[in-house]
């Protein structure tokens, strides 16, 4: 590392002569290598924690694993997996729950940030709206598990308001069960999008807004024709980041529904966990991991790279 500091002076005082030229060549190579050296420790650490497990999962997925006993089975795990209804259900659920929650979060966050961003008390609103996001997800899952299921508070409130007559069995129906997961996610994570959208709206040029208003444009028109196009890259980045987290949803399922009724609220993460750490069928779970990994890589290449490019420029 100290070599680089010397290289600076070495170049400055370079004079013709064998030892110096030798030194110069070495320092040049070092200068070329220097940025790689800086980034290497981080990349090495990440490779250890992604490449090794990735390779391990691929190999393990070709075996039937019973504790320390590995038996090679070829692609049997994959064939079983693609014929497994539980796997497809989990995949479908992940998209349904994630898609509905993400859409709701995005619409709500846009609506609220639209009404909040020029409000004189925006600082106060921001702190209030942030609160749900700052609880641990496991705690949030318990809040809603108690409200919906164990404490029957939501049913009680709905009865008092006259919407329903009897307690609702939230885990007895597929859609009600999914709904509890969606509510918990929307409650906790709409603030994430709100904070980002509000920052983007506040950064928008006030003069453009003022000019449009003088031309007779209403708030809604300004939002639709000026703010929204301006926010598109921001929305893309925020939705991609939220989408990644929502597609890996685990905590809420683990605490609130455990996949009930009949596996219909199981997400893909929970499916892998259950097969691996409850049924101890590690080879099979690894096959599911590999499928999920491939999907992640495709999504990463197609969507995420583009979103972050457009967000930067």
């Amino acid at each position: 590392m100290t070599d680089t500091s010397m290289s600076g002076t070495g170049v400055a005082s370079a004079s013709p002569g064998m030892p110096d030229r030798h030194f110069k060549r070495r320092s040049k190579r070092l200068r070329v290598m220097f940025p790689y050296l800086l980034v290497t420790p981080a990349v090495a650490f990440l490779l250890m924690i992604t490449l090794y497990p990735g390779a391990y999962a691929i190999i393990q997925s070709l075996f039937y694993v019973k504790f320390a006993n590995w038996q090679f089975v070829g692609t049997e795990n994959y064939r079983d997996l693609f014929g497994d209804r539980e796997f497809w259900t989990a995949l479908w659920n992940t998209f349904v729950i994630g898609g509905v929650a993400l859409t709701l979060e995005c619409v709500l966050a846009l609506l609220i940030s639209f009404y909040a961003y020029r409000d004189p008390w925006i600082k106060g609103w921001r702190i209030i709206f942030l609160v749900p996001m700052l609880f641990m997800p496991s705690a949030v899952a318990f809040i809603w598990k108690l409200a919906f299921m164990d404490g029957r508070v939501i049913s009680d409130l709905l009865i008092r308001l006259g919407f329903i007559d009897n307690n609702i069995g939230w885990t007895s129906s597929i859609w009600l069960s999914r709904l509890t997961l969606i509510v918990a996610d929307v409650w906790q994570w709409t603030p994430f999008l709100f904070i980002i959208f509000v920052a983007a709206l506040q950064g928008q040029d006030e003069e453009v807004e003022e000019a449009a208003r003088l031309d007779g444009a209403g708030w809604a028109q300004i939002f639709w024709n000026i703010s929204l196009p301006m926010m598109r890259p921001v929305i893309a980045v925020a939705v991609v980041l939220r989408g990644i987290d929502i597609m890996t949803m685990f905590t809420n399922v683990y605490i609130m529904t455990q996949g009930t009724p009949g596996g219909t609220t199981e997400t893909i993460s929970y499916f892998i966990y259950r097969i691996g750490f409850k049924s101890f069928n590690f080879g099979y779970a690894s096959a599911a991991s590999v499928v999920m990994l491939i999907m992640t890589l495709i999504i990463a290449q197609l969507i995420v790279k583009r979103a972050f490019k457009s967000g930067k420029e």
Binding site: I195, I272, A300
Partner: protein, 280 residues
């Protein structure tokens, strides 16, 4: 004119109805959950929900005497601070390299670092479990430290990189003509200037670490590695069922410091949460 003013007042009213309703939706469950933490167990799961409970500190005593809350706190704090320190040591040079040099493969390296953020914990959960098992690190804070550092490294690198890109190049060039080396420039000029960005990155990393659930669930099996996030799920006492008032209190014990720190870095929050893609 008068009708216009009335229209304006109406739109104000509508705005405050929307914002007020959302504020209630955010806060009512929180206040109700706080009331759960401050009531006796007999008033939590009842035939009819009780909205005005008797005040009780049962849960507070229970958390500190029946459960090793001190250990949970220690494990959370040690693993989180350790992971953030590891991340800063790795991320600052990496971010500097990505922000300040042009070289072959830079974009790909940057995107690789970013893409690890997308890796679902479930994908790598099983191999990581066996990795730590073979290294004899299961149920230790060291394993948690390593895994939290891995989860947050991409985030922290990208946030810091974004702040570094903002520094005008002239600042460095001036120092370089004075003969300062690259590492000295990083240490003496860049780091002090982007300190708010580094703090933001550290805070957001710490929050993600507090929240982490799946890996902690797999790694920890006793009080020597349980963190608050996973300990919550263990507040069940056999026939007693889920012990909600203890859960609520632990939730608030974790919430208060997070809330205070986030309010302090509020200005940088949107930028941090988008890994630098949005400048707040």
């Amino acid at each position: 004119m008068a009708s216009q003013r009335r229209k304006k007042n109406e739109s104000h009213l509508f705005r405050y109805i929307i914002l007020g309703a959302w504020a209630l939706f955010c806060l009512v469950p929180v206040l109700w959950f706080l009331s759960i933490g401050l009531r006796p167990r007999t008033e939590i799961i009842t035939q009819q929900p009780i909205y005005w409970p008797h005040f009780s500190l049962d849960a507070w005593h229970m958390v500190w005497t029946d459960w090793p809350m001190g250990y949970y706190l220690r494990n959370s704090v040690v693993s989180i601070i350790g992971s953030v320190v590891i991340d800063l040591v790795l991320a600052i040079p990496a971010a500097y390299s990505l922000a300040r040099y042009t070289y072959r493969g830079r974009e790909d390296i940057g995107f690789y670092i970013l893409s690890t953020r997308m890796m679902a914990p479930a994908i790598v959960a099983i191999p990581i479990f066996f990795l730590f098992k073979n290294m004899d690190l299961l149920d230790t804070v060291w394993a948690l430290m390593i895994i939290y550092a891995a989860i947050n490294l991409s985030l922290i690198t990208w946030i810091i990189r974004s702040y570094m890109l903002d520094i005008p190049k002239e600042l460095e060039d001036a120092a370089r003509t004075d003969g300062a080396s690259d590492l000295r420039i990083l240490w003496e000029i860049i780091i002090p200037v982007i300190l708010p960005g580094i703090i933001t990155a550290g805070v957001i990393g710490a929050i993600f670490a507090i929240n982490e659930f799946l890996f902690t669930l797999l790694i920890a099996s006793t009080k020597s590695a349980y963190t608050m996030s996973v300990a919550l799920a263990n507040f069940t006492g056999g026939s007693d069922g889920v012990i909600y008032n203890a859960i609520a209190l632990v939730a608030f014990i974790a919430f208060v410091p997070v809330f205070l720190v986030v309010v302090a870095i509020q200005k940088h929050l949107s930028r941090g949460l988008t890994m630098g893609a949005v400048k707040g």
